[in-house]
Symmetry: C2
Subunit: 217 residues, 2 copies
Amino acid sequence: MRHIFDAELTQLGQDLAAMSRRVEHAVTSAGTALLTADLQLAESVIADDLAIDAIERDLDERCVLLLAQQAPVATDLRVVVSSLRMSATLERMGDLARHVAEVARGRYPRVAIPQSLTGTFAEMHDAAARVGRRTTTLLTTHDLAVAEKIERDDDLLDELHRDTFNATLGPSWDGTAQETVDVTLVGRYYERFGDHAVSIARRVTYLVTGDSEVAAR
Amino acid sequence: MRHIFDAELTQLGQDLAAMSRRVEHAVTSAGTALLTADLQLAESVIADDLAIDAIERDLDERCVLLLAQQAPVATDLRVVVSSLRMSATLERMGDLARHVAEVARGRYPRVAIPQSLTGTFAEMHDAAARVGRRTTTLLTTHDLAVAEKIERDDDLLDELHRDTFNATLGPSWDGTAQETVDVTLVGRYYERFGDHAVSIARRVTYLVTGDSEVAAR
């Protein structure tokens, strides 16, 4: 029994990492689609989000089955409950990548982001792509140095998010209302994307260290 | 044992309903603070959100304890896992109410919402307050007619959310960039608030009917 259960826990970890790889791909493609007004790429992100949702449902069903059949305790229980939560978080991260892609699609053939903010959003895109990649690495390796890097990327995303407000609310802003709306929403999507990655980083830290204060922060 | 477990499940349900009552109070107060630029009310929503977060942590700890000590199966297991998820959702709804209050506080002594959109946001406020109230009722009674009403309120919130875009992007919009940003964000907060309530409505429906298709929608 124990042998089978260990294999199932390992599989759960691998599936979470695979789900994260799709989210990483989604956010990277969505940002590229946004910055280059690439309609086809935006469409592909939007279509692929259904697959991420399906993985979440499948993962959740297996977590509930594991709880019912194995009645895990202690660390094993923590792993299963954390997996349930992390799959929900990854699903939301996929949604946010899709939302970025939807803005790109909605403004095509124009680039949604006005030129004065291209640099800021290119930095947000880089930070979010890094967050996506590091989340996959963290779920694969449980290396807490990576969790720390995700927190720093999130700080950067928060700072860039503030920059977008300073821009739209500053005296030199001459964007249209559509541009103001798009900058506001996409900035918020990236900011939330970082928050969700941090919640995963803290859950993994909790699993590794057993320090529940970290997960509650 | 069974007797104690039943008591604990009942307590879990009551705690979720109590948490929902706080969220209902938060969203109602936040909307009032927004529409009337009531600084004190906004501050109270922001401060009270910490209590909602604390309830979530407490509820989650007890769910994990129940899983470890009782190893529930079948319906009992579904109840505990759903409680874990619904507490996370209620916590997010509390955050969104807080975000509305933060906008109200940030613009004080001005009203954040421009006069041309007061009617739309008053309707959003009413719908969100109703959603909050109905979520509490649903968690208390498990009456699926209430779940259905939450879906209708959410449809209305989506429609009002579209109205805000039609306004800010329409030819007669003469709001400042700050007003465009605020309308965009608060509209989004209300729209998400409705989505989260629908996810609770579907989880309760799933618990009552056992139809997992509903929860996955």
